[in-house]
């Protein structure tokens, strides 16, 4: 039973590795590479997390491009799958009420974590943002948490540079009322 679950899980990951978009495959290590080879090609991972079956997931956030985060699954010291996790498909898994560790397990390390709270009395949690791109251009995944560190807002927002330039919104406006 346990082996069956493991097999199913690995098969699912392999399927995702095929389905999900990858950047320039030439920049990514080959399946079957050793951990040392991967580290040599991609550098130190952003995070290493345990995976079922004594496997490991190495996360490379914002590498090789700032719009991608890769999860590399190792089994017995060898790279068995690569998947780019910042996508509509994975983002759809983020639901209101989800905890921060769960979001991190789905999307990896955020590009930026901010908090606009300037008052201890305010109940504003952190905002996590991820950068990515699709056929429509670059965008951010915007996730707001409450003070209990659970998701309250999850939105895909077009980048200003890509989505609003040319529409007049990316130009500052000023006036010293010359006609008054």
């Amino acid at each position: 039973m346990r082996a069956g679950v493991k097999t199913t899980w690995l098969a699912l990951l392999s399927a995702l590795a095929i389905v999900l978009p990858r950047a320039d495959a030439g920049e990514l290590p080959k399946l079957g590479s050793s951990a040392a080879e991967v580290r040599g090609e991609m550098g130190v991972p952003t995070a290493i997390r345990p995976a079922p079956g004594k496997n490991q997931v190495w996360e490379y956030a914002g590498k090789p491009s700032p719009y991608e985060t890769y999860f590399l699954l190792f089994s017995k010291g060898r790279l068995i799958t690569i998947r780019q996790v910042i996508s509509d498909l994975t983002f759809a898994q983020v639901k209101v009420g989800m905890t921060e560790p769960r979001v991190r397990a789905v999307l990896g390390t955020p590009w930026r974590i901010t908090n606009v709270n300037d008052d201890a009395d305010e109940d504003i949690g952190d905002v996590w943002e991820y950068r990515s791109r699709d056929a429509g251009g670059t965008y951010k995944l915007h996730i707001e948490f409450d003070l209990q560190r659970r998701v309250v807002v999850a939105a895909k927002v077009a980048d200003v540079a890509a989505g609003e330039a040319g529409k007049g919104l990316a130009t500052p406006t000023a006036s010293s009322f010359p006609d008054r």
Partner: protein, 203 residues
């Protein structure tokens, strides 16, 4: 104070800035806007804009409201630009060249707003600057009763301060950055017309 300033609804004092003049002591008070897109986050109803006021505090025990400083929702469609639209904070510098002449207030998605307050009973808007959102701007989301409505890239001018050269510094709450401004046109004339005399000021 024996009496509360006459401020409507849920307006409150975020910043109070005294302006001492020879003939009259003033107090510039700003409320702080707290809702996104002019919308009550519980009911979804329209929420009145938070604004600013000038009071005569020559008699501190009996402050008198002289005028109201507001920014219209249009032109600009500020209630649909994203984030907060309303007053937040004024500059708090007690030195030349603008002290006693100009009220300079951060107004969230309407940027920084400047009024000629040489006649405090009739403040005249003389300048504004609204930064553009950029790739660092954090989106602001409208959520009503727990339901996510939309998220927009909106600037949120949060604070404003000055230096003795007349430069105006504004900082954005939504991560857009800091802008350094100088006055031009009518706003600059307000200062130039009076030169550097500030004859009407106590100090």
């Amino acid at each position: 104070m024996d009496s509360e300033p006459n401020s409507p609804g849920d307006q409150g004092g975020h910043t109070s800035f005294p302006i001492y003049k020879k003939r009259q002591d003033l107090l510039l008070v700003t409320s702080e806007e707290g809702v996104n897109e002019c919308t009550d986050s519980t009911t979804g109803a329209d929420s009145p804009d938070h604004i600013a006021w000038l009071y005569d505090i020559s008699n501190e025990k009996k402050p008198t409201q002289l005028s109201v400083l507001t920014v219209p929702r249009n032109p600009g469609d500020f209630c649909h630009k994203g984030g907060r639209f309303g007053a937040h904070a004024s500059s708090e510098s007690f030195y030349r060249p603008y002290y006693g002449k100009l009220a300079i207030i951060s107004w969230f998605n309407a940027g920084v707003r400047v009024w000629d307050i040489r006649d405090p009973s009739d403040p005249v808007p003389v300048a504004y600057f609204i930064p553009a959102p950029n790739e660092n701007t954090i989106a602001n989301c409208l959520v009503v009763n727990g339901k996510q409505i939309d998220c927009k890239n909106a600037i949120q001018t949060n604070n404003v301060e000055l230096d003795d050269r007349g430069f105006i510094y504004i900082a954005d709450r939504a991560g857009t950055g800091m802008h350094i401004l100088r006055l031009t046109g009518k706003a600059k004339e307000v200062v130039v017309e009076d030169g550097d005399r500030n004859d009407d000021l106590d100090r």
